[in-house]
């Protein structure tokens, strides 16, 4: 596959023209994650719907990301991958799915793909929790790990987060 610098053309295309960015008003689930490695931050919003078989699916998905080319490209591609999937399928999406849909990432940027997978998982976790639904054990464990990492990154951005929160209160 052809490349632009260290990135594949596919990664660049997603970065240049990201799919599904922005916020969803009154989302069913929100995932907010930070990357302790480099300090990137990603927010992911979902609306949950039902498919023909009555199973819950990711009906709508949008993201907001502060980060590098890889962070934005992986954010964009996870929204494509998640859209229309059942919640069960969506939580199984992992960094490998993301990296291969982009045709690869530079080794130093592989950690960015974790961020996108985590954000989706967190949004689904948020939805399940809010709606008092049963949360599988492995989801709870992954959530605990993400929480720990978020705390670390949260320290870095507390000024900005405060400004954001105050703005949305108004």
């Amino acid at each position: 596959m052809s490349r632009l610098g260290p990135y594949t053309e596919k990664a660049i295309a997603h970065f240049r023209d990201p799919h599904n960015y922005g916020r969803i008003k009154n989302p069913d689930g929100v995932g907010k994650v930070g990357n302790p490695v480099c300090g990137d931050v990603m927010h992911l919003y979902i609306k949950v719907g039902k498919n023909k078989k009555g199973k819950e699916i990711v009906a709508q998905v949008k993201f907001e990301t502060f980060g590098c080319t890889a962070a934005i490209a992986t954010s964009s591609v996870i929204t494509d991958l998640a859209k229309g999937k059942t919640l069960e399928e969506a939580v199984k999406l992992d960094r490998q799915d993301i990296v291969s849909s982009l045709g690869g990432l530079p080794p130093v940027k592989l950690h960015c793909s974790v961020l996108a997978a985590d954000a989706l998982l967190e949004a689904i976790y948020d939805y399940l929790g809010k709606n008092k639904k049963e949360i599988p054990k492995d989801l709870r464990l992954r959530h605990a790990r993400i929480e720990r990492e978020k705390k670390e990154v949260g320290k870095r951005y507390k000024d900005w987060v405060k400004i954001e929160e105050e703005f949305y209160k108004e």
């Binding site: 660049i12 300090g39 927010h43 907001e64 990301t65 080319t69 870095r156 987060v161 400004i163 954001e164």
Partner: protein
């Protein structure tokens, strides 16, 4: 036609065609030979190198024999620190550098620490200035060398070099300065500034890569890093890269001749860029000192922006720039220079360096001022952090 605007002259410069012309005879014909050879071919090559040495020495007020040619500023800086360290071990084992030195000084100092030396790293203020008072306090009995760069490669701040040099001279400590960014752009007098060692490089001033120098004042005790045939007065054995050195000298001469006018032109472009960015982009700030900076350096940080994506987006628009963002570094760490001037990691994340040069036109600066705000806006739209921006602009 797609635009291609190079604003990364601080990283490296293209060669000036006038420089290239003077180099060509030294690749073949009668002047290609080893400068150590006694025959006519060797003497011709040697003569060219000695004339180059004289020209470069003259630019900084040095004696011809005080210039050691090397392959790069990295090599010169390694030679300065390690060479002084090992030659002066009996006198002491303490070195002083600043917190904003180039990686090749930082890493050389770290390596020396592993060899049993002690290193003090002087802090800088928010503009990047080392305080002469701090320096005076830190010099002690065992101090053998102080190394503070003349002009910073990232934020462009030019140190109060004469004051620092005076203190070192009074205390009897060698003073080295890395002038890779300032040589050929600012006037330097090694005697007036009491500089004992100085690093300069060819490829930053429109000369070829592969040539640089270390000025070593007569009488300074220094050990070579490269042992061999005894080139460069025994301080740097290696067959001499004659064409590159001839090019380096020619590039230096052109810079010296055109310095005044070129600086006036560059300062105009630089200040237009700075003013344009600060007024047109909310949440943008200048790094470094507003006036006391390199004529060709503009460095900013932008709220809610990550530098690597900014560089990529600018590249789509045909603009070549650079950043100190963690995401763009192999180590995934933000620039140590930006942290040293007091920026938080997230602010260093959004840093942008634009460095114009000899072939930058005013129309190109105008183009950058048109594209940059749009790109910043686009990235902020994607980012979860953006509201400060909207609040500010109402």
């Amino acid at each position: 036609m797609a635009k291609k605007i190079y604003l990364d002259y601080a990283a490296t410069t293209p060669i000036d065609p006038r420089v290239l012309q003077t180099m060509l005879p030294y690749f073949k014909g009668e002047a290609f030979a080893n400068t150590m050879s006694l025959h006519n071919f060797g003497r011709k090559a040697n003569q060219a190198v000695e004339e180059s040495r004289e020209a470069i020495a003259g630019m900084i007020g040095a004696k011809t024999g005080e210039i050691i040619f090397t392959s790069s500023a990295t090599e010169s800086n390694n030679l300065a620190l390690k060479g002084i360290g090992f030659a002066n071990k009996e006198r002491g084992n303490h070195l002083i550098i600043s917190q904003i030195e180039h990686d090749c000084i930082v890493e050389s100092a770290k390596w020396l620490e592993n060899q049993g030396f002690w290193v003090t790293r002087l802090p800088v203020d928010r503009y990047g200035f080392v305080s002469p008072k701090d320096l005076e306090k830190e010099i002690r009995e065992e101090t053998i060398l102080v190394s503070v760069m003349h002009a910073n490669n990232e934020i462009g701040t030019v140190q109060l070099i004469e004051e620092l040099g005076r203190i070192c001279r009074e205390k009897g400590v060698y003073f080295h300065t890395d002038a890779a960014q300032s040589f050929g752009k600012l006037k330097i007098d090694v005697n007036k500034a009491n500089i004992d060692l100085l690093t300069a490089s060819s490829h930053k001033i429109y000369g070829p890569k592969g040539a640089a120098m270390l000025f070593v004042r007569n009488g300074v005790k220094i050990e070579p890093l490269l042992h061999g045939g005894g080139h460069e007065g025994g301080l740097r054995s290696s067959t001499v890269n004659v064409p590159a050195i001839v090019g380096f000298a020619q590039a230096s001469k052109i810079c010296q001749k055109e310095m005044k006018e070129e600086n006036e032109r560059l300062i105009k472009l630089r200040d237009k860029l700075i003013k344009g960015v600060l007024t047109n982009i909310p949440g943008s700030y200048l790094n470094g000192h507003p006036q006391n900076r390199l004529p060709n350096n503009a460095n900013f940080y932008l709220d809610f922006i990550e530098g690597e994506s900014l560089i990529m987006q600018l590249d789509f628009g045909g603009i070549a720039a650079s950043t100190g963002s963690a995401c763009s570094s192999a180590k995934l760490e933000p620039s140590h220079v930006l942290l040293a001037i007091g920026l938080k990691p997230q602010q260093a994340h959004g840093s942008l360096r634009l460095s114009p040069g000899r072939w930058t036109k005013e129309s190109e600066i105008d183009y950058v001022l048109e594209v940059l705000p749009k790109v910043v806006e686009k990235l902020r739209r994607i980012s979860p952090f953006k509201k400060l921006d909207q609040q500010k602009s109402g």
